[in-house]
């Protein structure tokens, strides 16, 4: 690999890395990992042409390249800008970037209904994570939020257009993964909407993947609708022999019950392998699956809280709380001092299978 493709040296937030030519700034930053990685709401490495739309991944290029050291005049979308040799990029070290990102988060939340308490995506929502890390504590928007009439797009997928942030990922998924495209954008500007053109229901075998690629709760699983909160269910890796897809999935279980089936996601919240509708919607019993063990959970804020030992990627840092309230969190009460059932030393991922109240019993 290194023999054929020339390697470019790129410095992101003063950390240098050598990447193959043609890599985007975002992917170079992902290779470094940690806080220098810009957030991405619309870019999806598995979908061609995605990215560049949400503007959360804007970075400042303070030095274009070794040959042409001029800085780029505007902030650039790191997901669509390829690195040049000797490029110097500023992400969190640039005030301009931090300010612009704050603005983008505000814009994204402007018309978002913030109905997280009744949204199935809550707990694994990219917009929640993004606003928690980069947003303001309150909005300055004083007008009525834009709403859409609800459109029924079939028995398995629920489309909640008011929550949509127009990342276009589902459109690319429908376009590139399924054979027929019946999924597109209507209208323009702030009343643009995702629609299935004349309300055709989507009966393609892989269309369920639009649920996984949706960064917010605009597309959710109807078979899981209002059944449980994601953080009460335990993610377990499982597989089955599937004639259509690889059959490698993640089950979300509580007790012996399978609440939801999704594709496995990597540390950037992206699907590792797309799964078919059959696995996703119809195989909801433990006996359908060969359980491999508890999943390694990456970034998703709520699910990853505390007790999963197998966190991969960035560690949940206490500094995040600092950013929001401006001071260290103050413990009002340590629940373990009065609780009879909780055992803080128990790591959920070390329990074989979904947790049961017996596991926490102090007796």
């Amino acid at each position: 690999m290194s023999d054929q493709a020339p390697k470019f040296k790129v410095t992101i937030d003063n950390i240098s890395i050598e990447v193959p030519a043609g890599t985007t700034i975002l992917n170079a930053a992902r290779m470094i990992g940690g806080e220098v990685t810009p957030p991405a709401m619309c870019y999806y490495s598995k979908l061609k042409d995605s990215g560049g739309k949400c503007r959360t991944c804007l970075v400042e290029v303070s030095k274009g390249s070794e040959k042409d050291p001029r800085p780029m005049p505007k902030l650039v979308a790191s997901c669509r800008t390829t690195v040049m040799d000797g490029m110097e990029v500023k992400n969190i070290t640039s005030e301009k970037v931090v300010d612009a990102r704050k603005g983008v988060v505000e814009f994204l939340l402007l018309n978002h209904p913030l109905d997280c308490p009744v949204c199935d995506q809550a707990g694994e929502c990219d917009l929640q994570n993004l606003s928690y890390e980069h947003g303001n504590e309150a909005t300055r928007y004083e007008f009525k939020r834009r709403t859409f009439e609800k459109e029924d797009i079939g028995p398995y997928i629920s489309l909640h257009m008011t929550r949509c942030i127009m990342c276009f990922r589902c459109v690319y998924t429908a376009d590139q993964l399924t054979e027929r495209r019946e999924h597109g954008i209507l209208e323009r500007g702030d009343h643009a909407q995702i629609s299935t053109m004349l309300s055709k229901s989507l009966d393609n075998e892989f269309i369920g993947n639009v649920i996984d690629v949706c960064p917010v709760g605009a597309l959710t699983d109807k078979t899981f609708r209002f059944k449980n909160r994601v953080w009460f269910t335990k993610p377990v890796d499982a597989h089955r022999d599937c004639p259509k897809c690889t059959g490698k999935v993640r089950l979300w279980m509580r007790g012996e019950e399978v609440f939801r089936v999704t594709a496995r996601k990597d540390q950037w919240g992206e699907v590792e392998e797309f799964i078919c509708n059959d696995c996703r919607f119809h195989k909801k019993e433990t006996k359908d699956w060969v359980i491999e063990g508890p999943s390694m959970i990456a970034r998703s804020s709520v699910i990853a809280q505390g007790h999963y030992a197998g966190n991969v990627g960035t560690k949940a840092s206490p500094v995040l709380i600092d950013k929001v309230i401006g001071k260290d969190p103050k413990f009002l009460l340590d629940i373990h001092t009065i609780s009879d059932v909780n055992k803080p030393e128990v790591h959920l991922s070390q329990i074989n299978g979904p947790a049961h109240s017996d596991d926490f019993s102090k007796k």
Binding site: G52, K53, C54, L75, V104, N111, G189, D190
Partner: protein, 451 residues
């Protein structure tokens, strides 16, 4: 009387048709061009210093020389006739009354760039113009100026007129290309630039109608002669479409040497402000460029006379200057309300945002709603700063320049007319019954003496 190049035969009867146009020196430039090599034509355009007339003012010769020329891949010239900027209607005039000048320009440019299929993407609202152009194309073809083996040169060229469906965003070159391909008119991410991958992923040059038309006089008189007209880097002549509170609205050709004051008040051009009213403000280059008050319009911040050319109009940057833009000269007299005016523009950009990237999609609507509140007496003092903050976060952070175009008018209005916004907010009832008026916007600007 300034030099006229594009509208030289404006008063000739029947210039719209082939015979009259040919009799008055039409297609002479094409004859000349076909004896030159394509590279020489590009060189001639480079020498002329012609700058893109669509708004950005990018040197045309340089743009042409960026065109990639891979073996075996067709190249295209696309003419951007999607003139949708509020206040700009110069291209309409050219296409409607001088279609053959335009077609001759297209022919020469196509020959220079090696485009066998040239497209004119015309604004959907210009419903009657495609017929005029198609008739002119048929006439030109009939007389051997289009089609196969033009003038025995071996060069084939066809011109296709493509009607847009009425979206401002399709005036952005990559959105125009998408729309031309039959897709939703969303701007593309750059790079790759159209010069490398444009229509159907082939190398493409997108030029404005006036730019294309200006190629004809450049070939006729030569690039060096053309460059002598005008001042500095503002060479040649420029069409301006004047609207608003002036006596004579319309399209004028100027050679960029006259002052703004002369342009507004001389009888040869705008003829002054009617009914004895006073000049309050002006948008010199179409709705997207910053609005400037009368005092900064006629004189720069340094106290020098401001001229009608690219450099002088942008003297002082956005702080005290504006832009030549696309030449939509909008004049506002003392009876006009800048708040209302800004609101109207914000409404336009809100309506025309394509919805692809977040800052523009959400921000334009937000700005419009706040401006509506202020205009209708429901504003708060903090709204002005909020508006400033919103526009600042839109500008430069979007995929295409529509975000900038939406942010600049608001920014300039607040920068120069903050008093008027604040007056609207402080006097919610009075502001509904009368205008703020001229106030101090035409007062001479104090120029600090230099030692």
């Amino acid at each position: 009387m300034g030099v006229k190049l594009l509208l030289e035969h404006d008063k000739v009867e029947g210039i719209r048709y082939y015979d009259a146009y040919r009799k008055h020196g039409g297609y002479r430039a094409a004859e000349k061009a076909f004896k030159m090599s394509p590279a020489d034509i590009v060189e001639e355009v480079k020498k002329s210093g012609l700058r893109g007339r669509g708004g950005a003012g990018f040197p045309t010769g340089m743009k042409w020389s960026f065109l990639a020329k891979p073996e075996g891949v067709p190249r295209h010239l696309v003419c951007n006739a999607d003139e949708s900027e509020p206040g700009t209607f110069k291209d309409r005039y050219l296409m409607e009354f001088h279609p053959h000048l335009f077609i001759e320009g297209l022919l020469i440019s196509s020959f220079a760039l090696g485009s066998n299929a040239t497209y004119v993407y015309i604004r959907g609202e210009y419903a009657w113009i495609p017929d005029i152009l198609e008739q002119a194309i048929a006439e030109a073809k009939h007389n051997g100026w289009l089609g196969k083996n033009i003038l025995g040169s071996g060069f084939d060229c066809e011109i296709y007129v493509h009607r847009g469906a009425g979206a401002y965003i399709c005036g952005e070159e990559t959105a125009l290309i998408e729309s031309l391909e039959g897709k939703r008119g969303n701007p593309r991410m750059k790079p790759p630039f159209p010069a490398i991958q444009g229509v159907w992923m082939r190398p493409t040059v997108v030029n404005n109608v006036e730019t294309i038309a200006a190629v004809v006089p450049i070939i006729n008189i030569g690039g060096d002669e053309y460059a002598k007209i005008g001042v500095g880097k503002s060479t040649g002549t420029k069409l301006l479409s004047v609207c608003g509170n002036v006596k004579n609205q319309g399209v004028y050709e100027i050679d960029m040497t006259i002052s703004v004051e002369e342009f507004i008040y001389s009888d040869e051009y705008c003829g002054g402000i009617p009914n004895g009213k006073k000049l309050k403000a002006c948008i010199p280059g179409g709705s997207s460029v910053p609005i400037i008050p009368a005092n900064l319009l006629l004189k720069t911040a340094k106290g020098e006379t401001r001229y009608m050319n690219y450099e002088s109009l942008s003297d002082g940057g956005f702080a005290t200057g504006s832009m030549m833009g696309s030449g939509g000269f909008i004049v506002l007299n003392e009876d006009q309300c800048v708040v209302r005016h800004t609101m109207t523009l914000a409404r336009f950009y809100n309506h025309e945002s394509c919805g692809q990237c977040s800052p523009c999609r959400e921000g334009t609507g937000w700005m419009y709603k706040i401006l509506k509140n202020i205009e209708y007496g429901k504003g708060k003092m903090s709204d002005v700063d909020l508006l400033w903050d919103i526009q600042r976060r839109i500008e430069g952070n979007t995929i295409c320049p529509l975000g900038d175009a939406a942010a600049w008018p608001v920014a300039a209005a607040i920068r120069h007319f903050r008093d008027e916004f604040e007056w609207h907010i402080k006097n919610p009832e009075e502001s509904q019954t009368r205008n703020y008026g001229l106030a101090h916007y035409a007062d001479p600007i104090h120029v600090p003496a230099t030692a």
